[in-house]
C-alpha cells in the first residue's frame, strides 16, 4: 500500500517563485526520499533524509522531516522552467523497500 501521500496534487508557479510540497505517511520510517520525474522519463533521486534528521539542503532544495507529525516537505527555491516535473516522496519503513506517493505535478511558468 502507498505510504507517502503528496499534497498538493498539482502546483503552478511563476519562474523565480518558491514551490513547496508536502508528504505525509502512516507508520514509522527509516528514511524518506524525494524523487523527480520529467515527462516521459524515469525517476531521479533528489535527496534522502534519515529519521533522525530534521532538515537537509541540496542546492536549491530544502527538505524537512517531522516524525512526530509523520510529514515531510520539499521546498524548491527560485524555481526555473527546468523544475517543471512531477515530484514523488518515498518512504522506507522496516525493510529496504520504498513506498511511493502519487506525486505532485509542478509547472513553472515563464
Amino acid at each position: 500500500s502507498q505510504q507517502g501521500e503528496e499534497d498538493p496534487q498539482a502546483l503552478s508557479i511563476q519562474e523565480g517563485e518558491n514551490a513547496t510540497m508536502n508528504c505525509s505517511y502512516k507508520t514509522s520510517i527509516n528514511n524518506l526520499q524525494w524523487y523527480r520525474q520529467n515527462s516521459g522519463r524515469g525517476l531521479v533521486h533528489l535527496i534522502l533524509i534519515r529519521s533522525n534528521e530534521r532538515e537537509k539542503h541540496s542546492g536549491r532544495l530544502r527538505v524537512t522531516l517531522d516524525t512526530s507529525k509523520k510529514s515531510s516537505s520539499l521546498l524548491i527555491t527560485a524555481s526555473r522552467a527546468a523544475d517543471t516535473a512531477s515530484y514523488f516522496c518515498a518512504v522506507e519503513s522496516n525493510d529496504y523497500k520504498l513506498s511511493f506517493g502519487a506525486g505532485t505535478t509542478v509547472t513553472v511558468r515563464a
Binding site: S1, Q2, G4, N30, N31, Q33, Y35, G40, R41, G42, L43, V44, H45, L48, R50, F88, A90, E92, D95, Y96, K97, L98, S99, F100, G101, A102, G103
Partner: protein
Amino acid sequence: NAGVTQTPKFRVLKTGQSMTLLCAQDMNHEYMYWYRQDPGMGLRLIHYSVGEGTTAKGEVPDGYNVSRLKKQNFLLGLESAAPSQTSVYFCASSFSGSTLYNEQFFGPGTRLTVL
C-alpha cells in the same frame, strides 16, 4: 556508465501473449526492483531482488514472474498479458538495502499496451 537500461522502450501486445522485459545495470548494485506506474497511483512494486539468484514478491506480483540469473540483469515476464497490465514499467537498482544507502537509480521505462 550507462546506469540502468531497459529493453524495449515500447511494446503493444494482444491479450494472452507473453513477453519479457529486460533490465540491465552496470553499477554493480546488489538490489534490483520492478515497478509499474499507472496514472494517479504513483509507483507500485511488482517484484524485487536482493542479489543474484534471489527474487521476492512486492505489492502487486500477480501475473508477473521475474528472474535474476546474473547480478547485472533483472528480467520481468508476463506469461499471459491482460489489459489490466497496460502500464509504464520501471526498473530500478540500489547499492544495498542499507538505510544509509538506499537511493534507487531508475531506468527510462517501458510503455506497455495490452489490447
